[in-house]
Each structure stands twice: as C-alpha cells, then as structure tokens.
C-alpha cells in the first residue's frame, strides 16, 4: 500500500501543522484511487472543533465539515482518501485514541511538529479487524497519475 503525494501538497500539510501549533491541526485529503495506489491531489483544512483546553492533543472535525469535504471531492471528481493531522511535540505514530476513532480504508497522515516546526509525516491505515494500524509508504511524486 502506498500513498502518493505531490511535494506542494505535503508542503501545505506541513505549513498547516505549523500554523495550528501548539494545537493539533487537521483536515481531509482528497485524491484518486487507482488499483493499489492512492494519490493525494488536494487537501481541505478544517477547523478543530474540540474545546480549547483539549486542542493540544485532540482534534475533532464536525460532521457538517466532513460533508463539505465529500461535496468538494464530488465537485472535483475526487474521493476523500483520508485525514491528516499534526501531533504537536510528539512523534508521528498513531495513538491508542487515534486507533479507537479510526475509519477503515482511510489513510491517516500524521505530521510531528516539534517546537513549531514540521518535521516529518508518516501515513497509517487501520487493519480490517480494527486492531492495528499498519504503516503506508509515502511516496513523493512530481507528477499526477494519469
């Protein structure tokens, strides 16, 4: 399993994580699925609607915002591929809480933002039995898939 991403899109995800610091920033990834590959072509930054005291280690997107994401994907002829979020001052591994709330078939891209600077992103996908997250290789590609 691979998650392809354009460098400019990854750059935007990183800037978004830095802008949200010290809170968690999040949004949806839109793109195309072809056979075994997925390519992120567009992102949609959405507000973290968790209460202010919890935003440093929690994010929540409202159902209304999620629907906006699906509508935007339809408009662009794309699919909602998954979710990106930042872990301020923490590694980019999914937490137990991430796993409990994860949706199947979604790619979860996590960016570690250390002292305000985005370091690295890793992507994960929930296994069918909901027990584990397995890592998805991120491939930075210059061109979009045909």
């Amino acid at each position: 399993m691979r998650l392809q991403i354009l460098p400019a899109v990854l750059e935007r995800i990183h800037s978004q994580g830095e802008a949200a610091y010290p809170e968690e920033g999040a949004g949806l990834m839109l793109g195309e699925i072809s056979q075994d590959q997925r390519q992120v072509m567009e992102i949609l930054t959405l507000p973290n609607v968790r209460e202010e005291t919890a935003r440093h280690n929690r994010y929540l997107l409202s159902p209304q915002d999620y629907l906006k994401g699906e509508a935007e994907a339809d408009r662009l002829g794309l699919d909602v591929l998954g979710v990106f979020h930042s872990h301020p001052d923490h590694p980019n591994r999914p937490s137990e809480f991430d796993r409990q709330w994860a949706w199947p078939n979604f790619s979860y891209l996590i960016t570690s933002v250390m002292v305000g600077k985005a370091h690295e992103s890793r992507a994960w996908r929930l296994t069918e039995d909901r027990v584990n997250f397995i890592e998805e290789e991120i491939e930075i590609v210059e061109n979009t898939i045909a």
Partner: protein
C-alpha cells in the same frame, strides 16, 4: 424503501455504491436492512454490544438522529438517511512530570499544614485540587508549567496514557481533603488530620511507587460499566500503574 447515503470510507463494503436502498420503519430497522445486504459493514458501525460506535453519526434529512429519537426515530419512504463520520483523533499523552510536581506539592503543603497546625492551608490545597479537576489539569501543575519546565529544571515525561483517570484521582483526593478540612474547622482534629494523611499517603504512593489508587478505582468503575468511565488502561499496564511505554 428509504435511501441511505454511504460515506467514502465505507463504500468498499457496498461495492462502491454511494447510496443503498433500505427497508424499515425506524432508523434501527434501516441499519439492520443495510448490514443484512452488506454484512462487512457491521463491525465498523456497531461495537460488540450492538451499540452504534461513537464516531458514527446518522442524519435524517440533515437532522442528527441524536436530536430526534435516536435509533427509534421513525422514517418514511421519501426520507434521506445519511451516515456521516465524526473524524477525531490525536495523541493520548499525559505529561507525568506535571502530575508528579502536583503530587509533590500536595504532599509538601499538607505536611506543612500538619506540622504547623494550619487548617486553612488544607482548605487551600483542597481548593487547588478541585479547581484543577474542574479545569482539567493538575491543580499545582502550573508550578511545573510556568517555572520548572521553562527553566529546564524538570524534563517533560510524556507517556501514552489517559488523562481522565488522573483527573478522577485528583477529584477524589480533593473531596477527601475537603471533608478533612471541614472536620478540622469543626474541631474533629483526629478525623481531619487522618484524612489529610490519607491523601498524603496516596499521593506518596503515586509519586514514589508509581501506583495511582484513584486511577485504579476509575478502571474498576469502568469494568463495572458505570457510565462515564469509558477509558481502558494503556496496553500492557496494570490498571493504576504508571505506563512504561514512552510515546
């Protein structure tokens, strides 16, 4: 037949269909009809107790069914039912340095109160813990956040842990200490100082041994399925013990 809209992540289980026609007179029956047609959906929509998972929202003509009659909400032929994901997550990390600083200060101030016989100091400590519990942080954790951490005197100790049991433990301590303070102020010194020492011992057990009695109580209440006590202990950790796994 009612039309049910399927969100992106679940379309794998509906052969790519974005909508499914379902039968039933209530939301519950409609969902039953859906999982009958597409059985792989069941585990992603319901937990083991056949309750809707917390991140699954259902909207009936753009109204959340939680604001209607929930799963018993009646539906009609031309209604549109929609499954909408709640997207949530984030690091479940607890800075144990803040918690330990809080415990050390609770112990220190309580012992000073005992030695100098200062019931008002017991009131102050109970108040600090109660405020911390209400605002969801360790009551005297500000000493760590404002001074010890910025001055690099104590390093953060971030562990994969649930904050809720610690909050419950602090709230429990605040209640015990508050009863102790009332006892002291009404002249029941032995009971009062006894309760103060109970809090000192429990905070000490947590600070020096790493066992949080209040957290263990939280997990026991969770096992008894008391509503609100929903967190499970971190993996490979005895309920109440400080987790070993570094984040």
């Amino acid at each position: 037949m009612t039309t049910l809209k399927i969100p992106s992540p679940l379309r794998t289980y509906t052969d790519g269909q974005t909508t499914v026609e379902v039968k039933g007179k209530t939301v519950s029956e409609a969902l039953e009809s859906l999982v009958e047609q597409h059985p792989d959906l069941r585990q992603h929509l319901f937990n083991g107790a056949h309750e809707l998972r917390p991140f699954v929202n259902l909207f009936l003509n753009s109204e959340d069914i939680r604001h209607l009659q929930n799963l018993a909400t009646p539906i009609h032929e031309d209604d549109r039912l929609m499954i909408v994901p709640s997207i949530a997550g984030g690091g479940s990390l607890v800075d144990h340095s803040a918690i330990r600083t809080n415990q050390a200060l609770i112990i220190l101030l309580s012992v000073i109160a005992f030695i100098l016989n200062l019931p008002w100091l017991v009131v102050l400590v109970a108040f600090g813990m109660a405020v911390g519990t209400a605002l969801k942080f360790p009551g005297f954790g500000f000493v760590y956040r404002w001074f010890l951490k910025p001055l690099n005197l104590i390093k953060p100790d971030l562990l994969e842990d649930n904050p809720e049991p610690h909050r419950f433990a602090q709230g429990f301590g605040a209640v015990v200490l508050a009863i102790g303070a009332i006892a002291l102020l009404t002249g029941a010194s032995i009971l009062g100082w006894g309760l103060v020492w109970l809090v000192i011992l429990l905070a000490g057990l947590n600070l020096f041994v790493g066992f949080c009695v209040g957290c263990a109580m939280y997990y026991w209440l969770g096992r008894l399925e008391v509503p609100g006590f929903v967190r499970s202990p971190p993996e490979n950790t005895i309920p109440g013990m400080r987790p070993k796994a570094k984040a």
